[in-house]
Amino acid sequence: MSTAAVASNKVPVLNAMFRFQWEKAQNCFVLLFPEGMVKLNGGAGEIMQLVDGKKNLQEITDTLNEKFPDAGDLSADVNDFISTAIEKKWLYYE
């Protein structure tokens, strides 16, 4: 996983190929795409819920830091996940 810092004013957007939703039977958030499904872990699900095509990375990180005050600074986690998601083409930068 890449830990390279990403410019915090960048806005990630969900690729139209994917649909993000809560899947009760799997007890997790998932990404659905033609004939397939990616199950997201808890952290990834939290980040993805904030990807709305408007918030930039800094805003996403700030929101999470506020929501999970005991977790320490989450910017590295956000950067890691978003980099992976971009690499896998789940997300792209506007």
């Binding site: 998932v30 795409f33 033609p34 004939e35 397939g36 499904m37 199950k39």
Partner: protein, 406 residues
């Protein structure tokens, strides 16, 4: 169906990223949900592809499930945790209630996939399906140009129609998968096929060598490429991929299991992931299973939960208690589950036997014979016929086959 979808092609060579993700998570001691539901809405089809995996004995359209019955199936399957829904056939566009079925299932939270020949599609219908909530459209092609495509499809102007509709599908913002069923008849076009896919801006492209079920089993000698042809095709695919530099469609090349030494992990294991419902409501662990000497349940009589969790036929090949040798003692049995039950049955007459594809199988010579036999076909090719033709040929109803001169 008009093409062999990735639903069925759970071949070792990663049909797609998707199934991997789905598959790794789904196997457990408790029966997980039928994540993938394939709804074969009708066996009727305007095309006559000789590689079709539909049963050669087609049922009449009057026995097809009603709109309400299908909606009930979708509701029950979704309640159990089914998440991917494929509308297939035959040609699913022949169902006038397709939009209603799409809307109902999309509202339930399904990811909805339309698996079509493109025949019967119009720009207007693509738009109506979008409004109904359709997520993705997969279009089958039979070749890279009108001549080859329409000869295999057995229908004039099919290529032109497919081309136009593929353009419209992308223009209207859908993710699009193209499915090329590769056989001896079109394998020399593989480079052209890949260029066409780029031109049409496909997202994924399945270059899927025909699997030999249904009509394709009848026509195997005319379809199965030689090993040399496959090696050359794979070389071209790899060369093309390198030139793509990460751009353009994602190509998935699926080779026929006849040239493997281990069988495919068919359906990711019987009754673990896939559920097919046929036009008349039969529930099957895979779309070919109807041929097996098992009695399969019907959704008109049992709920999806009862079928999936309790029915004898779904339980029958789960786990490994049913396995004979050499599967039983094999350290790879968790990987391929003994291979395909239909293939074992078609080739050996015994559905319990090890898939003859496996080099450890005592029936492996049958695969060798099939490969040799395909070098010089002795029978004429038979084209898949649709129901209206079948009814006209009622005299031939036992086989529903029309022999066509080549």
């Amino acid at each position: 169906m008009n093409d062999q979808t990735a639903t069925s092609n759970s071949v070792g060579e990663t049909p797609d990223v998707s199934s991997n993700e789905m598959l790794t998570e789904s196997v457990s001691t408790v029966v997980g949900p039928p994540l993938w539901l394939l709804a074969e809405l009708t066996y009727d089809c305007p095309l006559h592809c000789p590689y079709c995996s539909n049963p050669t004995q087609l049922t009449e359209t009057k026995d097809e499930l009603t709109t309400e019955q299908w909606c009930q199936v979708f509701t029950e399957a979704r309640d159990m945790g089914a998440v991917q829904l494929g509308f297939s056939g035959g040609e699913p566009l022949l169902r006038k209630d397709l939009e209603v079925l799409v809307k109902h299932s999309r509202d339930l939270g399904f990811y909805t996939n339309l698996i079509t020949s493109g025949i019967g599609l119009t720009e207007k219908r693509i738009a109506k399906l979008k409004v109904a909530g359709l997520d993705h459209i997969q279009i089958s092609f039979q070749g890279a140009d009108p001549e080859v495509n329409d000869a295999i499809a057995g229908k004039g102007n099919a290529y032109k129609q497919k081309f136009k509709m593929a353009k419209s599908v992308k223009a209207q913002g859908y993710p699009m998968v193209l499915n090329f069923v590769i056989s001896k008849q079109n394998i020399s076009q593989i480079a052209e096929v890949m260029r066409l896919s780029c031109e049409l801006e496909a997202d994924y492209v399945e270059l899927a060598t025909a699997q030999y079920y249904g009509w394709a089993y009848q026509n195997r000698d005319h379809l199965l490429p030689t090993q040399a042809e496959l090696v050359e095709a794979e070389r071209i695919v790899n060369e093309f991929r390198e030139q793509q530099q990460g751009k353009g469609p994602h190509f998935i090349f699926v080779t026929p299991d006849y040239y493997e030494t281990r069988p495919k992990a068919c359906m990711n294991g019987w009754g673990t992931t896939f559920l097919t419902v046929t036009p008349d409501g039969s529930a099957l662990p895979c779309h070919s299973a109807k041929m097996l000497p098992l009695t399969f349940p019907n959704v008109k009589e049992k709920s999806i939960a009862d079928i999936w969790q309790q029915d004898f036929s779904f339980e029958y090949f789960r786990g490994d208690d049913w396995m004979p040798q050499p599967c039983k003692g094999c350290d790879e049995k968790e990987k391929d589950f003994g291979g395909c039950r239909c293939q074992a049955f078609m080739m050996t007459g015994d559905m319990h036997k090890t898939d003859p594809v496996c080099s450890k199988s005592e029936d492996h010579h049958l695969i060798q014979q099939a490969i040799e036999s395909a070098i010089k076909p002795s029978k004429a090719i038979v084209d898949r016929i649709n129901q209206s033709t079948a009814m006209k040929h009622a005299k031939n109803a036992e086989l529903n086959i029309v022999t066509v001169k080549v």
